[in-house]
């Protein structure tokens, strides 16, 4: 009896994890072979636009015919079950997938109307304009200062030490890490806690002032306080930048984003204003997901 009680408690504690582990099986809804994205994925004057994007990992078809626009100065949230291709799609937007030899990207992706997969597109410039915060915190094994200063340094954004110090401090402040690390800037960034590392990575990404910031679950390792700060930061950043954020937290998507895109098994199922998606989802799969019926 005792054991059973424990089991039940664990299930409720697990409720935050929208994985296959819970309740219904997402694969039961896997038949998305003829579908059209519900809602309107296209915008008038997009910052970035993706058209008919298909991504393959070797034989595996990871993204299927996704078209989606990202407007200037907007925050777009991408949600969906684990393994549905959110990270893959995000990584297409700054050609990070180029680093995976077996990965092939088909389709057309533009930044300010220019094809980023064009053979003349410089990936260095692209990635300076479209920054990224990765799913797993990955600080350089160098000092905290150097982590933040690295981007500005290779791009020549600071002309002297004072300017560099300023960039580093500003970036760390905006990532709400400054107070914690201001006295240990020369300590290795890898010595920070997981959540601090992720904020360091955010500071590193904003230090080069990209036009678009891609965030892959930036808060998955953070406590509620740091999460709230990051969300504030996102609010603040959208004044100047465009942000695409992948998140598993429905509340977070609802709080920070203007538009939300729901992915499912490599397909873009539904796009719409965040409010509409969460209050009145049009597609059955979207509804199932946000109401937690997948488990």
């Amino acid at each position: 009896m005792q054991g059973n009680d424990d089991m039940n408690q664990m299930k409720t504690a697990d409720a935050a994890v929208p994985e296959e582990a819970r309740g219904l099986d997402i694969h039961a809804h896997a038949d998305v072979s003829n579908y059209e994205t519900t809602g309107d994925p296209l915008l008038d004057n997009p910052k970035m636009s993706a058209r008919n994007v298909n991504v393959y990992y070797g034989e595996k078809h990871a993204i299927m015919d996704v078209s989606l626009d990202i407007g200037g100065n907007e925050v777009i949230a991408m949600i969906g079950p684990s393994g549905c291709g959110k990270s893959t799609f995000l990584r297409c937007l700054n050609r990070m997938n180029d680093t995976i030899p077996i990965c092939r990207v088909k389709g057309d992706i533009q930044l300010d109307g220019e094809d980023i997969y064009h053979s003349r597109q410089d990936t260095v410039l692209l990635r300076a304009r479209v920054g990224m915060v990765f799913q797993k915190p990955n600080p350089f094994p160098k000092s905290i200062y150097e982590n933040v200063a690295y981007g500005p340094r290779i791009h020549g954004l600071a002309h002297n030490k004072i300017e560099m110090d300023e960039i580093v401090e500003n970036s760390l402040r905006r990532a709400s890490l400054w107070e914690e690390v201001k006295d240990v800037l020369d300590k290795p960034g890898t010595g920070l806690s997981g959540g601090q590392q992720q904020r360091l990575c955010i500071a590193r990404a904003i230090a080069v002032s990209p036009e678009v910031i891609l965030m892959d679950e930036p808060c998955s390792a953070l406590d509620p306080i740091a999460t709230a700060r990051i969300e504030e930061l996102i609010d603040e950043l959208k004044e100047r930048f465009t942000i695409a954020i992948v998140t598993h937290s429905m509340q977070q998507a609802a709080r920070v984003s203007q538009r939300t895109a729901y992915f499912h098994l490599g397909k873009l199922i539904e796009v719409g204003q965040t409010k509409q998606i969460f209050t009145n989802p049009q597609h059955e799969l979207t509804e199932n997901y946000i109401t937690g019926r997948f488990g």
Binding site: M1, G3, N4, N94, M96, T99, P101, T123, V124, L125, R127, A128, G131, M132, F134, K136, N138, P139, F140, P141, K142, Y150, G151, I154, H155, C201, R204, A205, A207, V208
Partner: protein, 428 residues
């Protein structure tokens, strides 16, 4: 349900004992293996150090020398030129005869002269030439003992063993005992071992040429193999496309690492000496040959080190807009550097101990003068060890072990360097 649970617990408990026993057994086996390894290492070290240590001391004999112009066979006001050709050997011999007037027969006299090293006459010449005022005086000077006499003085010869079995004869033992009783023997640190080149006389032989040769050879090896090896590893690991050609190259590099070193020696002989006509016996050719031999090791270990760097670091660098080259040189290489250095130093240590390929390119010559550059003839430490180990004289046996001690000293230093560099790179 709960019954089931208890049953499982009982099952697990029953298996625990066995599992722990297995773990214990494994641990003991491991300890035994480590102990055995250390034991052999200790025996080896003990043997080498025991044999080699006496080589670091020299024996001297105090001889009363008659340095009169007559005895030296020069005019009283002889100039330097004449002094350099004076009869120092004669002076030493007659002085020895004076000290032991009872020695009469020719063969006994020859044995008497053998107490003092043939190098003593040159030492005496240098002293007299440095201070010509010595001419015409009588001096008691410490002269270097012959290696056979020295070995008796060091206690390496059992005087009770049959005379035919030892090189120090009974008569010599009597004289040496007498000198010892008169406090006319002393031992001192053997600086000559480090400052002299090779010699046919064990007490005069030193490793200076071999030290210089090893240093120059390794410098050439390192300057060639390290940059080329690391660049090749970086290219193959980070930039090269994966296709048939790179697969073939990879297989060949792995095979090269297993090629016997003497083959590289043959290659060096055929290509560098016969075809390019580089000088024989030179550290330049030795270094090139050893570099070829070390390259596969460096490439393979460097690739492994680069491979083990987490890809997330590369992604992080690329993500802020670093070019591929910047990502590699700013982030991947510093992380991989400890591994690369360890591999390179292992390769260099191999090269330091290599003999066979150097024999092929003639670095086995008898050389007395230290090389001034990479094209001068030289030998290297392991070849010197090889040469001395081949000599029958007892004096060379201890030199062999002493040279091995020096060689091992360098290996330890190289490893210490590797550890130091590792620590430094890891701190950053």
């Amino acid at each position: 349900m709960s019954n089931e649970t208890y049953k499982n617990t009982a099952l697990i408990q029953a298996s625990l004992k066995k599992r722990y026993a297995r773990e214990k057994r494994f641990q003991w086996m491991g300890r035994f293996a480590v102990f055995l390894g250390f034991l052999f290492l200790f025996i080896l070290l003990f043997d080498i150090v025991g044999k080699g240590l006496p080589a670091f001391t020299q024996q001297y004999l105090l001889i009363d020398l008659d340095l009169s112009a007559d005895a030296l066979d020069v005019a009283p006001d002889a100039d330097a030129e004449a002094l350099s050709r004076a009869n120092y050997a004669g002076v030493i011999k007659s002085s020895l005869r004076d000290m032991f007037p009872e020695v009469k027969s020719r063969s006994d006299k020859r044995m008497l002269y053998r107490l003092v090293s043939v190098g003593a006459e040159y030492e005496l010449r240098d002293r007299v030439m440095a201070d010509p005022a010595l001419v015409g005086t009588r001096q008691s000077l410490w002269l270097l003992a012959h290696s056979e006499a020295a070995s008796y003085l060091k206690g390496q010869v059992d005087p009770n063993s049959p005379e035919a079995e030892r090189r120090v004869k009974d008569a010599q033992i009597t004289w040496l005992d007498q000198l010892h009783a008169d406090e006319r023997t002393k031992s001192g640190f053997n600086t000559q071992f480090f400052t002299a080149g090779d010699s046919r006389e064990p007490e005069l032989a030193g490793i200076r040429v071999a030290l210089y040769g090893s240093f120059l050879t390794l410098a050439v090896t390192f300057l060639l193999a390290f940059p080329i090896g690391v660049c090749a590893a970086v290219y193959l690991e980070e930039f090269a496309p994966t296709n048939r050609l790179t697969d073939l190259i990879e297989i060949n590099i792995n095979n090269l690492a297993a090629v016997p070193s003497i083959v590289f020696g043959l290659l060096g002989l055929a290509v560098f000496i016969n075809f390019f006509e580089f000088p024989r016996s030179a550290p330049l050719v030795g270094g090139i040959v050893l570099a070829l031999m070390t390259l596969p090791t460096i490439i393979i270990t460097s690739r492994a080190a680069i491979q083990s760097v987490s890809p997330s670091i590369r992604e992080a660098a690329l993500g802020v807009g670093a070019s591929k080259l910047q990502a590699v040189f700013h982030h991947v290489l510093p992380v991989a550097m400890p591994g690369i250095l360890t591999g390179s130093i292992i390769g260099m240590a191999q090269a330091l101990g290599e003999t066979a390929p150097l024999l092929m390119i003639g670095m086995v010559a008898f050389i007395m003068d230290a090389p001034a550059g990479v094209t001068d003839p030289a030998t290297v430490l392991p070849v010197q060890v090889f040469l001395w180990a081949d000599s029958p004289e007892r004096g060379f046996t201890e030199k062999t072990s002493a040279a091995i001690m020096v060689l091992m000293g360098f290996l330890i230093m190289m490893n210490a360097l590797a550890i130091y560099l590792r620590k430094r790179f890891e701190l950053k």
